[in-house]
Amino acid sequence: MRVLVVEDDRKVADFIQQGLRQEGYAVDVLHDGSGAGEQAAAVDYDALVLDVMLPGRSGFQVLRDVRTRKPALPVLILTAKDSVDDRVAGLNSGADDYMVKPFALAELSARLRAILRRGAPRENVLRLADLEIDTVSRLVRRGGQRIDLKPKEYALLEFLMRHAGRPVTKALIIEHVWDIHFDSVSNVVEVHINSLRNKIVKGHERPLIKTVRGVGYMMADTP
């Protein structure tokens, strides 16, 4: 997977590059938007990570330029502003997703995975160790034993399972599991993780749901 990162802040560009490289991506970085269109067209990138506040040329202009050359290229926008107008403008001009700075690397890679996977068939049954969930019938089993979950607990579990093996941030969880933005109610995710743990982990040897401090949560079949 090859990703083009257009970001004028060198430090931010550096950690994105390093972080994504560690996850196995090939990463090219541009520090201004002037050559981004040509670069995106010349190389067969799988995704573009684009800062909208670039010196000289706005990210939205770059985005339009890229879109005329490569209509299907997945684009993730980074912004230091978060006004509603900016979000709408970003998504209207053809971005697939956006992220407000500062963000967790885990969130960047999760969103990148999501836009890269877009259109790919979704698995109906997800498994991790002896935990199995059927996303059609919404049935959850551990070691063959059926577990009853409340709707929000189930949605949380399915989201974690779809990202199994990789950490997901609280912000991502809230965005995908709740239809309300809980940014001020800080512990709504913790509470649901706890109740999920009570139902899924209690009485079993392997915890499966791990807390990644400073980042979020991860489902993994490791001790």
Partner: protein
Amino acid sequence: MTLRSRLTLVYATVFAVLLVVIGVTSYKLLAYQLEQDATTNLLALTSGLHGYLRFQGGVPVVVFNADDPVATAFVRDATRYYQVFDAVTGDLLVQSEAMRPLGLEFTPAEVSAFRAQLLMRDIDTDYGRIRLSNSVITPDQGGVYLLQVGVTLAPVDDALGRFLTLLFLIVPAGLVAMIVIGRWMAGVALRPLSEVAAVARTIDVSELRRRLPTRGVRDELDDLTLAFNDTLARLEHAVGEMRQFSTALAHELRTPLAALRGDIELAMREAPADETITRHFASELEEIDKLKRLIDQILTLARAEAGEIPVAHERVNLGALAAAVIDQLELVAEARQVALRQQLDEGVFVPGDEQWLTRLLLNLLDNAIKFTAAGGTIMVTVARDVSDARLVVSDTGAGIGADAIPHVFDRFFRADPARTSGVEGVGLGLSLVKWIVEQHHGRIDVASEPGRGSTFTIHLPRVD
């Protein structure tokens, strides 16, 4: 005292003084003129009568040609009030018919006094004032006589009296009329001012683009309006710069935070599995996330108050909305062992913005959960009042002191740090709640007792 009353008072005072001055002056002038006329008339009569007076054997006789109508009329006039004394003895020789009832018989001493000083005298009689002229006649046949001719001053006094009465009627009536007219004039003059004030009052910080209308007549009021508009323009410019500043600030803060966060995350990935270091890093990441939330909230509130965030006014089922929010928070309350109760009328609709109303309820419930200890209860009520919808969130939590209640909606306000030290948040939640209530044309009241709990009551306009 209003400007209108003051203006009216000034008008009335000036007019009253003017009326009195004019009244007194015209009275004096009239009196002087009338007296002057009377004197002139008397002098003419006196000197005329001298020409018609003859003394036949020491007896004065008026001699005139009866065929001459002018002479006849003059003599009749001149002899209406006249009498002749022998100036030596003081004897009254002749007295006209009209003079008789006036009782103007003088003693020889008085007659000689008249003779010594030949002046006019005004004498009060039962028939009004009379002005007498004194003149001496010394005929060729010998003897010295004192002639007294009079004119009555009653018509003069009558005229002056009537004029005075008129003045006493006209001055107060004029004054009353002036107060009424003055008040009306002041009202007319000040009405555009009130209109300008009414428009100016409706302009708040989110509407600085508005200007007051001028009437295009280039008068003092237009001057004032233009000056006010200038101030608005400067204010708009300054606020615009502040908004740009907050946007720039957001960018300038968020980008370094992003770099910082990324570096720490990378370091965490690369660091040896050292528990202590990992814990420090994780704690720093949490602080950065807190900073991010703080920046988000400040910007949201700043933008909201600047009117940059649109608020929809759709038909929202307040009861159903509350039920949905409570549903999402049930586990959170349960985890803190707080009972979350509800009494919702799901037939109550308000014109509003579903997202902002959700945020409102969320912030209130978040607050209630934070400040209520295990074992406490939170009650959410949505009810239909006569004309509005009522949303009540009450808890059995820590409560708010009476001195803190007026400040709970202030930005960054946190009641009693000792009681809230373990609670996350920066004190912006309730500021946003208040803004949302205002955007929905509602009102919010707080009742609280420390140790007993708080009740937030919101009234919103209702639709059917």
